[in-house]
């Protein structure tokens, strides 16, 4: 299991970034592909915005861009129909694969 996956299991989304050129590196890797320096980690602030969504059975899911610029697919909890551009808060876990969950803010 990778460091990123271990951290997901502990509920932390670690952002991989280059300490030299400051680019976010996704998916995470040890070497920056832009300036070839070693990369480092910082915890995500866990906020993002909905870019698109749909629904399977009773579960909303969608494409979310988190504040650090990474886009992931995850489930969306909302008491009403989600909206494009709506702010969401992220929680994560890992069980054989990553699990990204989002809650619409001010729900």
């Amino acid at each position: 299991m990778t460091f990123f996956e271990e951290q997901l299991r502990q509920g932390v989304f670690q952002i991989c970034y280059c300490g030299k050129c400051n680019n976010v590196i996704w998916p995470p890797k040890e070497i920056c592909h832009i300036c070839h320096s070693r990369t480092d980690w910082k915890k995500s602030r866990n906020f993002g915005k909905i870019l698109e969504f749909s629904k399977k059975e009773s579960t909303y899911f969608g494409l979310i861009e988190i504040d650090e610029g990474i886009r992931v697919l995850g489930d969306i909890s909302s008491i009403s129909i989600p909206e494009i551009g709506q702010s969401v808060r992220m929680s994560v876990s890992f069980n054989s694969k990553p699990h990204y969950s989002f809650i619409v803010e001010n729900n």
Binding site: F4, W26, S54, K56, F61, L63, R71, L73
Partner: protein, 368 residues
């Protein structure tokens, strides 16, 4: 660069049954060789296999099965567009002079688990293609006011056209209403909007100009090629377009010195209904906001210009065979051998094959 032609074609029936990949490769290769008059197997100096199957050394296995001892033999995997990438690799071997005659064979088993790109961690638990298919569909509806009926027409049209394709896995007609009332997969996808994995094999024989003249009375020339990969991750692309297709089409048109208006017939990669609308727009055949109307007109006038063999939705999607089967359809159309599917006076055709939500596209222009 030497000119390269397609001189032989062969397929197996696509089916939902479990298929043995070695057997499917052999069957379609055998059909392909039989389609060529007086084909001396000793002259085939390349054998390329296209598949997502985990079986090893298939190029050599197929060569031995066929009684061929080629100079060049290996497998090619590029998810759903493995087939066209194998054909284009054969083109490169021949045009460079490394090879003269190459057999390209693609096959897939319906039970192959290789449809999911596990590497793409940005998909989280939503790994299956239905999730990116839903995102593209919802986005198209939102941006271009595409209706559910327009999406359903793509499927109804392709199912109808597949009825005249003897190799298609589905020969059932589906009305627009049947598509719209079919099982709901997500809020934005019905089961009949989706292409389905199946078993199947497809093979073609390619040759240099000199050899092609001796092997076929109707060689079909590959005059344009365009390929583009923008990423492997689905989430690194925007939802509104398929940039890889647009860029690959630009390259293919430039190489063949044609424009989109010159295309008489095209096989496009309708993994989901929305993909056909997006593809014909990126290829310059219509525009995104008019793509639904364009397909409705084709359906109403029984014009089979787009996906005459039924596309992936009607014919089935055996990943490694799909791009080759698309190429066979355009070849047969340009040879006037498509029976009830025939587009009259077809001279220029296009093959569009893509992978993983359009992160990679391969396009070929064929001319007779």
């Amino acid at each position: 660069m030497n000119k390269v032609a397609i001189v032989g074609t062969g397929q197996t029936k696509f089916s939902k049954n479990e298929g043995n990949v070695e057997k499917l490769l052999f069957e379609s290769s055998n059909n392909c060789i039989q389609s060529v008059n007086d084909c001396n197997l000793n002259n085939i100096d390349g054998v390329l296999v296209s598949t997502n199957n985990n079986s090893k050394y298939l190029g050599a296995i197929l060569s031995e099965s066929m009684g061929i001892q080629p100079k060049i033999s290996h497998s090619i995997e590029h998810l759903c567009s493995s087939g066209t990438n194998a054909v284009i690799s054969a083109y490169a071997y021949i045009s460079s002079g490394l090879s003269d005659i190459v057999l390209v064979s693609g096959a897939e088993s319906a039970t192959n688990p290789g449809q999911v790109l596990e590497w793409d961690k940005s998909r989280g638990e939503f790994e299956h293609p239905i999730y990116w298919g839903s995102m593209l569909t919802k986005s198209h509806k939102r941006k271009f006011q595409t209706t559910e009926e327009e999406l359903a027409i793509v499927s109804a049209k392709n199912h109808k056209q597949a009825m005249d394709n003897p190799f298609a896995y589905s020969n059932e007609p589906r009305t627009i209403l049947e598509v719209m009332n079919s099982k709901q997969i997500t809020d934005d996808l019905r089961i009949l909007d989706c292409s389905r994995s199946c078993s199947g094999g497809a093979s073609i024989l390619l040759a240099s100009e000199e050899k092609a003249r001796t092997l076929s009375d109707q060689p079909i020339w590959i005059t344009g090629i365009g390929q583009k990969t923008t990423s492997a991750s689905f989430t690194k692309n925007i939802l509104e377009d398929i940039k890889s297709t647009r860029l690959a089409a630009d390259s293919a048109y430039k190489m063949s010195k044609i424009e989109s208006k010159n295309i008489d017939v095209a096989e496009v990669h309708d993994a989901f209904s929305v993909c056909e609308l997006m593809a014909i727009s990126e290829l310059g055949i219509t525009s995104n906001d008019k793509s639904g109307e364009f397909v409705r007109e084709l359906f109403n006038t029984e014009n089979r210009m787009i996906n005459p063999r039924g596309g992936l939705i009607g014919a089935g999607h055996p990943l490694g065979a799909t791009g080759i089967s698309q190429t066979i359809e355009i070849t047969n159309q340009l040879q006037g051998k498509s029976d009830r599917r025939q587009i009259s006076n077809a001279e220029t055709g296009l093959v569009h094959n893509m992978s993983a939500a359009g992160t990679s596209s391969s396009i070929m222009v064929l001319e007779n």
